[in-house]
Symmetry: C2
């Protein structure tokens, strides 16, 4: 591996190269940004743009294709050199200026401000190892009053789920029972959030938002901790094996019928798979639930005190009898059925 | 990672766990062994079997399901403990005996010999990091005269190919030219064989066997080096970007119409993808070839002198004018067309 790292001018490691390959192969990711930028040229035409953490430079090229006057593409790693080559092979060396620097250290000529900031800063379960803090610093330093953020909002959702790939799948592997293997897999995977694809059919209840981030307004300190206590009625009978987390990002849109044409990068189990997949917090033992049965949990997501860009997730199973339910609540407890009926009739 | 390794009784590393998950999820692998064993029960019924490197024990359970009298399941790693649990949950603890040992150190009671050896010993491009040497040692120590080997033969094939994932794919990524990225990918990947899926449509010429291994007869020293010099006519025009390697394993079969019912574990681009994928030796620059054009190469595969289980692959491009062509040859050189026509007319 050492040899490769020495030979490699651009990537910090082989893993880094693989990650960038994965990202460039991620169609829903690329298409969401492409549609958000090229489908809303008015935000870019003759405008000054900053791309924070431009990587290989693909988003900067989209902005130039949308007729931006100038794109400052900031990249701290040696990938900046590769981005420069890619900008050149696309003929935009007069529009896109690659700045090989941390965005925190960037100084623009004449302290110019930018009209738009674009960035693909999202990590697993949105915030893990992501670079949102840097994007917010760039916003405060460089974005014009009333400028646009691409994306402008981000939401993390949570729903109870089955996780067959860690449970039932192993009950019968071509006629062989391998539940001991599954048990072992879970033992290994329950120590940290598991990145995996969850299918829509394996969601046991409706999702709830753990947090809603507004990139125009929120500050880094707003991102230190998110917490939710929730009760949801199982929408079908099944094996409750963990919580499924995913995120979506929303982009500004000029369309008047905003809701219909909104560009969303959606990483839910209902959408095409992305390299972020979903994140599961895996229960050590499954819990069989009936349709309508209340599932109550507490989930918190806190910044790691040592590693600022990491978050720790903690899930606590709660007794549905002992906590407040939302109003209305989808569970089958008498109180919730009555409240729901009452609210629906008014 | 340290924490995980300490917590982990069975697997040497998290990677090891992932590899075993991949193997157990590999349907063509599992089904080939299952069919070979359960479709040929006569080889197993009331017989004594040894499973060399049993891993999680799935093949041993297949053998027990095929009514083996006794299965010695040998596993050197701590996975032996997991295999024991799996044997138990399938109710075969009286048939399958897990032996936690290197096969080289095993002593069977009364120096008993076995009727059949089963093993899934194959690595990437068949031999890389595989454990065929151990299987051959087990054969010499434990297999009865005339006993069966599952699998009994293995072949490595080679064919010239295009590799779009390292070349043409990057010419247009949602309207952005990223050939600088592709060039960089190749620079990183040309230092070692690349494990990836090649599609059938990307094979540019017919395959040739690099080696043919007979597990009943060959010895470890027969596996030290394989080498081939070959010329093949391109079967269509295209971009020649490397050599594609894959292997197949053949199992004994009782069927009289042997060829039709032969059980083959085939890892070619024409078959369902396996966790072995294919292996590519990537050219630093593509070569455009016309249909019928001769492609000449020399390929050698030699044991690494330091790491006995590793092999080094070396490819040399040859001048088709300067080397002997096979007879008949599929290329469009006049001599080959004449020889082929002559041979076909006789």
């Amino acid at each position: 591996m050492e040899t490769e790292e020495v030979q490699n001018n651009y990537f910090n490691s082989y893993e880094d190269l693989e990650v960038h390959t994965l990202m460039l192969e991620d169609e829903p990711r690329n298409l969401a940004y492409k549609k958000a930028i090229l489908g809303n040229k008015c935000y870019f035409k003759d405008k000054i743009v900053m791309d924070v953490g431009c990587g290989t430079g693909i988003l900067s090229v989209f902005c130039a294709q949308a007729d931006a006057k100038k794109v400052y593409a900031v990249e701290a790693s040696n990938l900046a050199n590769l981005a420069r080559e890619i900008v050149k092979e696309n003929g935009f060396e007069n529009v896109i200026e690659i700045i090989h620097s941390k965005v925190e250290d960037v100084i623009l000529p004449n302290n110019i401000k930018v009209d738009v900031i674009v960035s693909e800063w999202m990590g697993f379960y949105l915030l893990h190892e992501g670079m949102l803090d840097s994007v917010l610093i760039a916003r405060d330093k460089f974005l014009k009053e009333g400028g646009e953020m691409f994306p402008e909002t981000a939401v993390i959702y949570v729903a109870p789920c089955s996780i067959p790939s860690l449970y039932s799948k192993w009950n019968n592997v071509h006629g062989v029972s391998m539940s001991a293997f599954a048990k072992h897999l879970r033992k290994n995977k329950s120590t940290k959030p598991e990145i995996l694809n969850i299918e829509q059919k394996d969601l046991l209840g409706d999702e709830v938002a753990l947090c809603w981030i507004n990139l125009r307004e929120d500050n880094a300190s707003d991102l230190n901790e998110f917490s939710i206590q929730h009760v949801v009625g199982a929408k079908k009978s099944g094996s409750y094996e963990g919580l499924c987390l995913w995120f979506e990002c929303n982009f500004p849109s000029m369309s008047e019928t905003k809701d219909e044409n909104r560009i969303i990068l959606d990483t839910s189990p209902n959408s095409l798979a992305t390299h972020w997949k979903q994140t599961a917090i895996v229960l050590p033992h499954e819990v069989e639930v009936e349709e309508g049965e209340p599932i109550a949990f507490q989930l918190s997501m806190k910044r790691d005190t040592e590693h600022n860009r990491r978050y720790n997730l903690q899930m606590t199973l709660l007794d549905p009898e002992a906590v407040d339910h939302p109003q209305p609540c989808s569970c089958h407890m008498t109180k919730c059925i009555l409240i729901k009926a009452f609210m629906e009739s008014h």
